[in-house]
């Protein structure tokens, strides 16, 4: 094999590898993007059916209800404009509290209830999940609410 051919083979092999890798990566990337929606968007049916997505907002005070002797919990996530009922079967993270921010991943059923497969925990109690904060921010903008009413809602 001449050096020129060898070099060509090298380059071809390299490009092929990169091509395969890029296809693989972009494919996986495309199918694993998880989009974020606010409770208002979900209630307005803007969220996709059948594909998992994330919601964020505040856990409404007094909305947490456990089904006795099971791991089922029901609660309501609100962005202060709309209320979205959520069901979750599993263990809630330590930082899950009524009146605090939360982010959950799952999908919405035909009954309009959000079935969470994951309730996300973060490392700090003062920390408001950015997605939750932005949901409230969005609702505030839509309604023209003032910041003071928001903090009293918290």
């Amino acid at each position: 094999m001449k050096p020129r051919h060898r070099r060509f083979l090298w380059i071809a092999a390299g490009l092929a590898t990169l091509g395969v890798a890029a296809t693989l990566v972009l494919n996986a990337f495309q199918s694993n993007l998880v989009f974020f929606f606010t409770p208002s968007q979900v209630v307005a049916k803007e969220a996709p059916q059948g594909r998992p997505f994330r919601i964020g907002g505040l856990v409404e005070s007094g909305s947490l209800r456990r089904v006795p002797n099971s791991l089922d919990v029901h609660f309501i996530v609100t962005d202060t404009a709309q209320r979205l009922p959520v069901v979750y079967n599993g263990m809630l993270p330590d930082l899950f509290k009524e009146g605090k921010g939360v982010v959950a991943q799952g999908s919405v059923g035909p009954d309009g209830v959000f079935h969470a497969s994951e309730v996300l925990a973060k490392h700090d109690e003062n920390y408001m999940p950015p997605a939750a904060a932005s949901a409230i921010e969005q609702a505030r903008k839509d309604k023209g609410m003032s910041l003071s009413t928001l903090s009293s809602a918290k």
Binding site: N32, L71, M91, E125, A131
Partner: protein, 660 residues
């Protein structure tokens, strides 16, 4: 008084760093011995000053001086002494001070350990590290001063985040930073080579042990972080592809590529350009990791806009370092040159494949980590990239890499014949293949992915043993001891690190394949059976810690009716207001039993039924054990005699050449 002294020492340190960063560089350019001679005393003085400042901050923490804002925010009098000391680097400011301390420490170590380095190269290396230091120290002083006073002083401090009150978290950041910052040496060597326009085998031999050291520390740091999240966060995972974790993993991937590329540059004088580029990228990713974790962009891209000082500073610093070094690379890479030719199948080509795979893997992590941030920053929507993406990408990239790892050490440089390799490795291949097909049956169900994972791990083990066996049986020396002593520490280190990967792969495969996770509601006296073990819940009792109140559950593990272990998972309410779950883990060579408390689920409260996580994690500790072996391999490799001897010899050679 003490905090002011620390503050003053920091100001002096930045001035010294400025001297260290500028004058030796000019000296190296003009071949001015006086200016170059400044490099060593400057870096050592800078190190002592930062160490002094760090000591001052530690003193303020140890004595609970709440007139210092940083202490008041991250410590209190009820905190045990060891965590008060660890709190020194538990905060943003403190951890950056630790960063600067390590940078100066590495620099001082270079100045001590390289008496034989040519003055021009050494001055440039130290000067580049000085410039990086200037950046970090001014960042500390201008945006994150750890010595700021609080007026009036607080009566009592807030608490250190309870998640960080843990022995693992005490040593995790220093190890991680040793790794991050250690890549600054490879970076400084690379910049020095670009400035000098010369890069030879000796250069590679000088920068190799430092890179290996940094890589080993980074490996330990990442493993500790992973172990910490396993036993502290209370849900039994060991890696979440969280941006914070990815921030440390990206430099590791490129650092691993750099280690291997340096080997080729040292032994064969090839890959020169590429090695320099990897060194620049590895350090840039370390900086980017620091930026991601420290600027607050991960919590919220928009927090950035409300308090932009820190983020903008690091961003500008990043732009200067990365932009500057890449520009220099673009101009000077030609002077450094490529290197010798090699055949399609040779050790070089396999290391090239290793590099390509690692860099592609790193790029895919960069994409998954930064894409959501970019979209958010541009207000194009909010989304996240789930762990399935990383898993889907990583497996196909890592499988060929691990397979090559078995062949590489047996392949010779320049050229190797495939039939020859096949003959040498056929037994290793057959043993690994047969074992990995049969072994899953002993665990229960058979699955192709488990068999493949086991095959990759066992293949590396078998091929490594083959490599040792063939090397020893061909050695001319008499007696096993002499044969063993004939090989270099670097070779043993490399093989041990590869074994570490094998142990890691086997651990991951088995815990993914056969781990059982059950979240169950359990009444007092009720139990759940996983495999041969029955976990029985015996209720909870109150406990009191130094700075928390809590409940400890009792879970008995019994096998054939006999109690073999009692686990006490805790739920702690810290005085600072945070609640934390403390999992109880029964560690074992063949796997862990992992129990953590959820919540009371009946209206009877604490005395009634609870939800519990009951996990059985076979071979999970092999994951961190493997990482530990990798790091040990690194430390053994860097202790190789040739890194000390070769430097002297080459200098003798240089002197001889000059005389002639």
């Amino acid at each position: 008084m003490i905090p002011e002294l620390g503050h003053f020492a920091l100001i002096l340190a930045v001035l010294v760093a400025l001297v260290q960063g500028v004058l030796p560089l000019i000296g190296a350019q003009r071949r001015d011995a006086t200016l170059m001679a400044l490099a060593k005393p400057a870096i050592r003085t800078q190190f002592l000053l930062i160490a002094f400042a760090f000591g001052c901050l530690m003193y303020s923490f140890a004595t609970s001086d709440f007139s210092v804002a940083n202490v008041a925010e991250h410590s209190n009098t009820q905190l045990p002494m060891r965590y008060r000391i660890a709190a020194t680097w538990g905060s943003h400011e403190g951890s950056l001070l630790l960063w600067a301390l390590m940078l100066a420490g590495w620099g001082a170590a270079v100045s001590l350990r390289s008496r034989n380095l040519p003055d021009v190269l050494l001055s440039r290396v130290i000067a580049v590290m000085g410039l990086v230091s200037v950046g970090f120290l001014s960042f500390l002083l201008f945006t994150s001063n750890p010595f700021l006073r609080l007026m009036p002083a607080a009566a009592e401090g807030q608490d250190l985040n309870p998640l960080l009150q843990d022995p693992g978290m005490v040593i995790h950041p220093p190890m991680l930073y040793m790794g991050y910052v250690g890549f600054s040496i490879a970076f400084a060597f690379a910049i020095a080579a670009l400035l000098g326009g010369r890069l030879d085998a000796t250069w590679a031999r000088w920068s190799r042990p430092w890179t290996t050291a940094a890589w080993s520390f980074l490996t330990i740091g990442i493993a500790l972080g992973s172990w910490w999240s396993y036993y502290v966060l209370g849900w039994g995972g060991w890696w979440f592809w969280d941006p914070v974790e990815n921030a440390s993993f990206m430099p590791w991937l490129v650092g691993t590529a750099l280690l291997h590329s340096l080997a080729v540059t040292e032994k064969r004088g090839t890959f020169k350009n590429w090695t320099v580029l990897l060194a620049i990228v590895a350090f840039s990713l370390s900086l980017m990791g620091t930026f991601l974790v420290r600027s607050g962009v991960l919590t919220s891209v928009h927090a950035f806009a409300t308090d932009p000082a820190r983020g903008v500073f690091i961003l500008i610093f990043l732009a200067i370092v990365i932009g500057g070094s890449l520009t220099l690379y673009a101009i000077r890479a030609g002077a450094v040159g490529g290197g010798a030719a090699f055949a399609m199948i040779s050790r070089e080509s396999m290391l090239l494949a290793n590099n390509v795979l690692l860099v592609v893997a790193c790029a895919s992590v960069v994409l998954g980590t930064l894409y959501p941030l970019f979209l958010d920053a541009l207000n194009l929507g909010k989304l996240s990239v789930g762990p399935p993406y990383f898993e889907a990408v990583f497996f196909p990239l890592m499988a060929p890499l691990v397979f090559l790892m078995g062949i590489g050490p047996l392949a010779s440089w320049r050229q190797v014949k495939l039939p020859d390799l096949a003959t040498r490795l056929k037994w290793a291949f057959m043993v690994a293949a047969v074992t990995s097909v049969l072994l899953p049956f002993t665990f229960g169900h058979w699955s192709p992915l488990v068999a493949l994972g086991l095959f990759l791990g066992l293949w590396v083990v078998a091929a490594t043993i083959t490599a040792i066996w063939q090397r020893l049986s061909r050695a001319p020396q008499q007696g096993l001891a002499a044969k063993l002593a004939a090989n270099s520490a670097a070779w043993y280190g490399m093989l041990l690190a590869h074994m570490g990967i094998a142990v890691f792969v086997i651990g991951v495969t088995l815990v993914k394949g056969y781990g059982v996770e059950q979240n169950v509601p359990l009444d007092v006296g009720q139990g759940v059976t996983i495999g041969v073990d029955t976990f029985t819940f015996r209720g909870v009792a109150p406990i009191t810690g130094p700075n928390y109140q809590g409940l400890a559950g009792v879970v008995e593990v019994s096998r054939n009716g006999k109690v073999v272990e009692t686990l006490r998972p805790e739920k702690r309410a810290y005085n600072s207001g945070m609640t934390m779950t403390d999992a109880a883990i029964d560690y074992g060579f063949f796997g862990d039993r992992y129990v953590s408390l959820g919540e009371p689920i009946t209206d009877k409260g604490d005395s009634g039924a609870w939800s519990l996580r009951v996990y059985v994690k076979p071979f999970v500790d092999w994951i961190w054990g493997g990482a530990f072996l990798m790091a040990m391999g690194g430390f053994i490799a860097m202790s190789d005699r040739r890194y000390r001897l070769a430097v002297k010899q080459s200098l003798a050679g240089l002197a001889g050449a000059r005389a002639a």
